[in-house]
Symmetry: C2
Subunit: 189 residues, 2 copies
């Protein structure tokens, strides 16, 4: 039994860490995480060295869903411009949900304020990969300055989703026209 229970406890801890830190912040206590996961603190420390490691592992596990919900399929036959717009259409759709709090990989870095924290490192890599996706599409699409365009799109991604997450703005009629303006200015038609 023990060998079967352990992976389940692990999964529940990862899920609780992902859900509660997104909703309440990285300051969420170990007690609350263990309670939500239905796992004893002792079991948690058998599975993860620390809360920091649990948080990092939960962010790592979330990457697949982040990529699947945001990025287009590798060979979907659409143009680079359409593939970039796809990402922002997805963010706009996600931002409509009442539980939306912006990009978790941005938020965790802002909250931790420590670039060397294991969770910050995971988050930093995830955001770097998104910028790399933009850059690769910008290059394929013949953008005049693919590096600049990728940086600009990353700024819009983070700024718009953060603002929607705190209720400062919605993304409707905002994110698409902004991205289109930047794509047009880069000559990416």
């Amino acid at each position: 039994m023990t060998t079967e229970v352990k992976p389940t406890s692990r999964e529940r801890l990862l899920e609780a860490a992902a859900t509660l830190t997104y909703r309440d912040g990285v300051g969420i206590g170990i007690e609350a995480l263990c309670k939500a996961a239905g796992v004893s603190k002792r079991s948690m420390y058998q599975l993860f060295e620390s809360k920091d490691e649990l948080l990092a592992a939960s962010l790592e596990q979330g990457i697949a869903a982040f990529v699947a919900t945001l990025l287009p399929a590798a060979d979907d036959g659409r143009s680079p411009r359409e593939r970039i717009l796809h990402v922002f259409e997805q963010v706009e759709a996600q931002a409509g949900a009442p539980e939306f709090r912006g990009c978790r990989y941005l938020a965790v870095q802002i909250e931790l304020k420590d670039q060397s924290h294991p969770a910050s490192r995971v988050a930093h890599r995830v955001k770097g990969n998104l910028t790399s996706f933009f850059r690769a599409e910008a290059e394929r699409g013949g953008a005049s300055d693919p590096v600049l365009l990728a940086r600009q799109l990353s700024v819009v991604f983070d700024g718009a989703s953060a603002r929607a997450g705190i209720g400062a703005d919605s993304l409707t009629g905002l994110i698409a026209p902004t991205v289109i303006t930047l794509l047009d200015a880069a000559g990416m038609h």
Copy 2:
């Protein structure tokens, strides 16, 4: 003596709250705040109802510096385009400092995840005022859609400063060309 000491304790608490929450986050404990301010917990609770109120008051007090360092003087004779660019030049200059962690009024809302928190309310108002500044300048400058341009500039402000704050990017060669592209697209020359 007591009447002279009290305002000083208040000032030191506001300063400690501003500095420590910016550096370490809103999870900073009351003990740490009081220790940094050199004020007893008892004195703190005579001055502020709660840590939440202290945080809100420290954000409120920071508004004057936020406005003074970012916004141009009311009648500086420059064009609306130049006055908008001024804000982003200031952010770019601020972001060069090693202690830069992005806009405190964005960060506190992301960290608190509670729009009804007294500190979130202050921060929400401050960011709303910045968007209003952009909108007023956009209107004066004949932007094709001043509301859209103000929202876009707010996205760039928050996205760029957040990314610089977490070390994801610098603002050099990024924020100015992005803003110029948006101003040009809005016909604000």
